[in-house]
């Protein structure tokens, strides 16, 4: 065995992987979209398993209520106010220095999603909203990159593999997003960490199978799990691809990629918060802005993030001028605060 593979000896002993499979893992580049509950577990597993390269993209920073389930973060990260992608990469480097890691602190939207997935052998889903999954689905189907969908809420979770050209895509199963208020969110239903771990574990297992070329072992069904009830079900969805005239994978109309207006304001799951993305402001000078804001409220900043508290609201501003406004779900209130204190 090659010396640098010694650390994987127990995984190599597993006959389905072996030394050959381990080398295939080492030669793989994976993109992880979203580094929250599912994302941290997946990143931890894939980096320990020895994939070659992992790019992590996430728009958020670490908060205290994340620690219940987001395994790569700790109280120190909360105190330091650092972005999740950065905190995750710091931790992962200590776990496995052989893996090439890249952190991208950004929101995935129609302007950057194709660049985000470019060059990936596989994309794994750790995101938390429908819009981004439709975007990732469009981008992956268009570029012929497989991706693994996973999601959970409460004690319940779903997962399926999307192999373009071979299996149904995400839109074959869920043609539209639910109407606002029609799907449970972390706000209404919460989430417990065992369902996060089990969905992320399945996503990891599928990733390892795919990356080691064990295509016949891949899950072809839609899996649903309720960890509180102990139920595990698989639904055969193979027909979807043949019988449904999917706008994405059949007609190849990439409606989410092409939604030129995109959405620059979104409600954040579980947070009583709204995110505002600005398209063309450029990078923010925190020093200068902090000077201006300290007359109106409490302001702190570091390399990545500026936090400003005013009345019952808290504005977290990122270098790319994207802001998360906490204390409201009202888009107009959020827009008003942004305009008033950040500008534009």
């Amino acid at each position: 065995m090659q010396a640098n593979l010694n650390r994987y000896s127990r995984q190599i002993l597993f006959s389905e992987i072996g030394e050959e499979g381990q080398k295939k893992l080492r030669d793989s580049k994976v993109v992880l979209a979203g580094c929250g509950a599912l994302g941290t577990v997946i990143a931890n597993n894939l980096v320990r398993a020895g994939i070659g390269e992992l790019k992590i993209i996430d728009r958020d920073f670490v908060e205290l209520n994340n620690l219940q389930r987001q395994i790569l973060f700790d109280e120190e990260d909360v105190k330091r106010n650092i972005p999740k992608a950065i905190a995750a990469v710091e931790k992962l480097k200590k776990i496995n220095s052989q893996v090439k890691l890249e952190a991208v602190v950004a929101d995935v939207n129609f302007t950057n999603v194709e660049a985000v997935v470019e060059g990936a052998k596989l994309l794994v889903d750790g995101t938390d909203n429908f819009e981004v999954r439709f975007l990732l689905n469009d981008a992956c189907v268009k570029a012929d990159i497989p991706w693994i969908y996973g999601s959970c809420v409460g004690s319940y979770g779903l997962t399926m593999n999307i192999i373009p050209g071979k299996t149904p895509c995400f839109r074959c199963l869920f043609e539209t997003a639910p109407l606002p208020g029609m799907a449970p969110t972390c706000d209404t239903a919460g989430v417990i960490n065992p369902i996060v771990n089990i969905i992320a574990a399945i996503e990891t297992a599928e990733a390892i199978k795919y990356l080691t070329g064990k295509f016949e072992a891949l899950n072809k069904d839609l899996i649903t799990i309720d960890i509180w009830e102990g139920s595990f079900e698989k639904f055969n969805i193979a027909d979807r691809r043949d019988k449904f005239d999917c706008p994405c994978c059949k007609q190849r109309k990439f409606e989410f990629l092409e939604a030129k207006q995109g959405s620059s304001i979104t409600s954040l799951c579980g947070r009583n918060a709204v995110q505002i993305t600005q398209k063309s402001i450029g990078r923010v000078d925190f020093q200068e802005l902090a000077e201006r804001l300290k007359k109106s409220g409490e302001v702190t900043f570091n390399k990545y993030l500026l936090k400003f508290s005013i009345d019952q609201y808290e504005i977290s501003l990122f270098l790319d001028s994207r802001a998360i406004i906490k204390g409201t779900n009202d888009f107009s209130v959020a827009r008003g605060l942004y305009a008033k204190y950040i500008g534009t």
Partner: protein, 90 residues
Amino acid sequence: MTTSIKIPAPLRKLTGNQAVVETEAETLIDLISDLDKKYPGIKERIYDGKEIRRFINVFVNGEDVRFKDGIKTKITKGSEVSIVPAIAGG
């Protein structure tokens, strides 16, 4: 004739937390209407007036109703009806 339908956790708010609901309906649309009588509002959640909403999948005995008879799909005694809503948390 009674059939039991399992309500997935994300939809249970609509059934007063009932995990299993009994029905005597013989087709899927009757089943949905019957559910709505017991739990007003649930029909609106899973049915758009013409068909099952596009972010919900319904399987009868493991088969996708979209490729059977849609909302007219027959329900018989012992049928297993599964409702799988899209969820987005993560």
